[in-house]
Symmetry: C2
Subunit: 298 residues, 2 copies
């Protein structure tokens, strides 16, 4: 295994013009480490992730931004749907000491990485507040509950689903293909149906996705959620957005709002904006603008 | 009648935080002019609009921005659906000498204003390139064709539909209510169905609307249009968007893109950004980023 740590000025995954979802955390020779895994540092060494070195979806900026949508002071239980190695869920609980996380992942290889991550000595401060649930997010009803996803159990749900379109599916790596491809076009409907079922009323769902998934996401949020806030993620001024960050509240009837964009890069170089750096490294949250009362704690 | 002319530095309608759709062009005592109409200057006196002084939807910045989405060099025929007094359609042909416009309006009072506008001496340079069609945009099939909206007849369709939600409908003025209220929630579906029917293949549709209509619009564009470009209109940095400008191409299969926002105000004062001023006054277009070949001319 190889331990890599991203320096402060260079968060794990640079977001460039039109990146694929999930770059290697450090795109160098480390990907052929001894055991076939790498251990990558996030949040400036605040926590570490065991990831397959040469296969599967590798966590990056998307996961860090998704975690940042959980507001400061968040308490209770979070579900990370399609958690992969656990990047987004662990990023959330690393910043938020009163929050616990269930990492839901279907692919055994990735669920195994998540379990290995929790077993790392460096993550000892997180292990008691996280568990891995190997389950298909698309399950419904009794099957879903039997898999460990109880109704009305969560205060927060975050999801970073495999969102490459069918046109991008020609990848030779079947594990990567599973992580990246939408299987039949109704992925957001299935995942957001589950999110609505397992959230408490008033609970918050967060999604990071490509702008082209906007219609699908808004339709799937439908009457289940309200107070939708969409924030475009724009690499540099005048660029098209490469991602949308979407949050919504279960049962809210508030209207959707479209927030001003988050700018990834500032200035002439490849550096991140100060704000993006803070979000990527767990030093700041990206809270909603609409005020809403979080679900009551038991 | 009263003739007002907006000075260069102050385009017809200031866009503030959350404006209602359609402010008076000059919100002063002129609204009680002799005949019950005002004549308002647009494009720095490039053309004039007869509008009811105290009723109906009054044209403003929305109409000017909508017209700006028709690219420089545009030729052929444009349909302005729900034209009101004709602001958007006339703004388009005032900037574009090779374009003609059909102004489609259901409300007799507003269609009458549009006809009076075309009869103004000051608009003599436009009169031969515009006509008013008094018809309901929602008509279908033979009824629509009989009303003068032929299939495959238009190169461009622009629409600025009445987009206040039912919650805002409590206006005492029934004409205003008709202009502002969505009748039954499927307005964009009905209007974009008509847009798709009357456009030539490869023709461009443009919509200006509230961000909360995003899902409805994207769904209604559906398989009829592609290459959707959505541009948020943001009053000032970090504000939520107050409008979305949407363009799409009939029959295109290109993916949606979300463009960086247009900023309305710059600096500390109430002044418009230089770009916004140019767009509002017909000195610049806001063209699409995706390249597409316009429909062939007959």
């Amino acid at each position: 295994m190889t331990v890599t740590q991203a320096p402060d000025e260079k968060p794990p995954v640079p977001v460039s013009g039109q990146p694929a979802n999930g770059h290697p955390a450090e795109p160098d020779a480390k990907s052929h480490a001894v055991s076939g895994h790498t251990i990558d540092a996030f949040h400036n060494g605040g926590f570490f992730l065991v990831q397959p070195s040469d296969a599967g979806h590798r966590a990056g900026m998307d996961a860090m931004l998704l975690a940042a949508t959980v507001p400061d002071g968040a308490r209770g239980l979070l579900a990370d749907l399609g958690a992969g190695a656990g990047a987004a869920g662990l990023a959330a609980i690393n910043r938020l000491p009163d929050l616990s996380a269930d990492l839901i992942e279907r692919a055994p290889v990735m669920a195994d990485c998540a379990r290995r991550s929790l077993a790392l000595e460096e993550n000892a401060h997180l292990a008691a507040r996280a568990r891995v649930i190997e389950a298909d997010v698309s399950l419904q009803g009794k099957l879903r509950r039997d898999a460990g996803l109880a109704d009305y159990a969560y205060d927060y749900v975050i999801l970073n689903p495999p969102f490459n379109s069918a046109a991008d599916r020609k990848t030779p790596d079947p594990l990567k293909a599973e992580a990246h491809a939408m299987e039949n076009g109704d992925l957001f409907e299935r995942w957001l149906r589950t999110a609505a079922a397992i959230l408490k009323p008033g609970g918050q769902v967060s999604v990071i996705a490509r702008p082209e998934s906007m219609a699908e996401i808004l339709v799937a949020l439908g009457n289940r959620f309200g107070g939708v806030e969409v924030t475009p993620l724009v690499p540099r001024q005048t660029d098209d957005a490469i991602r949308i960050l979407v949050t919504a509240i279960k049962g809210s009837r508030a209207r959707m709002s479209l927030r001003d964009r988050l700018l990834v890069h500032e200035g002439a170089g490849h550096g991140f904006s100060a704000r993006m750096n803070d979000l990527a490294n767990g030093r700041a949250a990206f809270p909603r603008r609409m005020k809403n009362r979080p679900p009551k704690q038991r």
